[in-house]
Amino acid sequence: MRKSALTGALLASVAVSIPAMANESVTKLTADPNQWAMQSGDYFNQRYTKLDQINKDNVKNLKVAWTFSTGVLRGHEGGPLVIGNVMYVHTPFPNIVFALDLDQEAKIIWKYEPKQDPSVIPVMCCDTVNRGLAYADGIIILNQADTNVVALDAKSGKELWKATNADPKKGETHTGTTLIVNDKVLVGVSGAEFGVRCHVTAYDLKSGKRVWRAYSMGPDADLLIDPVKTTNLGKPVGTDSSLKTWNGDQWKIGGGSTWGWFSYDKEANLFYYGTGNPSTWNPAQRAGPDGKAIDQLYSMTIFARNPDTGMAAWVYQMTPFDEWDYDGINEMILADIDVKGKKTPALVHFDRNGLGYTLNRKTGELLVAEKYDPAVNWTSGVDMDPKSARYGRPTVLPAASTFKEGKGQDVNAKGICPAALGSKDQQPAAFSPRTNLFYVPTNHVCMDYEPFKVSYTAGQPYVGATLSMYPAPNSHGGMGNFIAWDAGTGKIVWSKPEPFSVWSGALATGGGVVFYGTLEGYFKAVDEKDGKELYKFKTPSGIIGNAMSYTHKGKQYVAVLSGVGGWAGIGLAAGLTNPNDGLGAVGGYAGLRNYTNLGGTLTVFTLP
């Protein structure tokens, strides 16, 4: 029955696969550096602008051109879009959308504020963030917290359609942006901390009709996996590859959230994303029937899927049997770079587990897996030998295991790096084709992790571990670094220490300047070559939004949302004042609250 359902789905998808429309409008817009039509700038997630008016020599003269208050106090992730002479700004819950007329000094053209049940607020573990709007064919897509996906007419703000993707009463919420490919809106979901079985769903851009849904775990038909055609490191995955790696029915509350930044390769017609942790955080409760570690496919996995049908082309699981909450959701950046001397269509991914991965995005072949923070200590590395039985698997160091062969429950495993928020969380990195380097905002945080038994109740948190986080010991004492990374060799080129985690998306530019924000609220410009700080400005609040750039009337602007919050605001706001942690390096820094306060503001910069 499973098989026939799958075949049916395949046939149906083939029948409806019609020429790409929205794809072309988005492709066209993103090719024009004067606009910023996608959250990540382009389908490759590169966060690079060709604009070069602002350069290394003049960036020191940067001035604030104008500002805009969103009126919302929660954490502001993502950033605005610019289409033509209109800027679209979003807010965290209640997810207001503003259209601003750049021709009239950012006068508000329209404002859309959805009505949402406030009971969704506490279900959004770690703040009511939203990572921004998507645009195609005159339509703005808003991905609301309560899992409604709303299409707005970009001109009028009028609601065109609304689709309910999931159920907040079960702990399912939306925090991510969407990716519009061809005629589909691709939507992920959050909720791994609530025992949700997460998925990616495609909606028809014109009608809002649901087209396909692909779960992160379960039977092949639910996963949209073909046992023969879908590959894992070059080999067919085989029948029921996910089900075999779960104990009993646990896959039904398996987690594997999908709220990261998707990317798309038109040539391969594949889109890419990562899945989050398996629920619960207590690995002992997820062990196999024999009490041993079991992979829990396809949590912690990079997926390459066909956007028209949802079918998976290839998969690669980075962290089998997660013991630390190292979600695999971080962005997938596509770039054509030299990898070990060979020109490669690469996918580069900075995982929460602290490893920077480079894969061939067409085939899913693993090329590089190296630590992008020297503090990472849970693994000695990944087996890179294709002939090995453990090919592609990381070796877990016993001291960092929280499972401890089934004896880890109620044991406090100390000094694990990175912490659960990862060497990097959602804050997206940038790639510059000028330098062929990746510019990565990172966390430099370690943790103690003690798993214990929890019971599952639908719609209630299903966590199962207690953890304390602190700056990486024996280092510079700060909780972050901004680094430049060579994905072809897997090496850090330079690293700039920051007192707090760098929780803001980077922007690389044609002017040789790289921009990012800090949790204290500084918007910074650094030299692409060596990370030297060229400019900084203190915005009204801590920055967890992403830098973007556009032109208006021939002049280049750079903009960023400030508004502290998110995991960063929760995990770190008070994290540096613990008198007992005795790590020596803490001294100079008090909690983040001594540096910044709540409040959402867009700050737009330009040269005088």
């Binding site: 607020i121 770690c126 209630q460 948190p461 502290v564 929760i570």
Partner: protein
């Protein structure tokens, strides 16, 4: 939710009736224990116990663990608050046991300036919270009163069978 409510009231009543009873554990100075081997104050309400060597009773230690699984993602590490939710180490300077349990079980909505809302969810159905609500309360109380400056509390060496039995029956029930 109802079930937990009743259990709690029962606990409270039981606690009161035992507070001056002939309970044999006399380690405490000025405090007694209920039948779950939990320290209680004169009103029969749960309270932390700090020993001379700086260690704490099981419930306070366990409250630290449970707090940092269920509560800290909103209320911040060690009850210090976050950009999202209030610092409970401050709230419990004035908030009593009954109010604390009521808000945890039933939730509440606080209207903020500008029409925004702060929402505490109702956790009455959540065993991972309600079976440990006393533990979390005494941990935060120790934080609020400065008995526990921060970090992971040192725990008493032996965990009582009574606390183990209660946990098992609560999680099953």
């Amino acid at each position: 939710m109802k079930k937990f409510g009743t259990a709690l009231i029962a606990t409270l009543l039981l606690g009161s009736s035992l507070s001056f009873g002939a309970v044999a554990q006399t380690v405490a100075v000025g405090t007694d224990k209920d039948d779950k081997s939990k320290y209680i104050d004169a009103k029969g309400e749960p309270i932390y116990k700090k020993f001379d060597d700086g260690s704490f009773d099981w419930y306070t230690f366990n409250g630290f663990r449970r707090y940092h699984a269920e509560c800290h993602v909103c209320h911040g590490p060690e009850g210090k608050g976050s950009t999202y939710a209030p610092a409970l180490a401050d709230s419990l300077k004035t908030m009593g046991y009954g109010d604390f349990v009521g808000v945890v079980a039933s939730g509440r909505i606080v209207e903020l300036s500008g029409g925004a809302k702060s929402v505490m969810p109702a956790l009455g159905d959540n065993k991972n919270v309600m079976c440990y609500v006393d533990d979390i309360f005494v941990y935060l109380k120790a934080r609020a009163e400065g008995a526990l400056p921060g970090g992971r509390p040192k725990r008493e060496v032996e965990r009582s069978q009574a606390s183990q039995d209660y946990e098992n029956s609560c999680l099953k029930g």
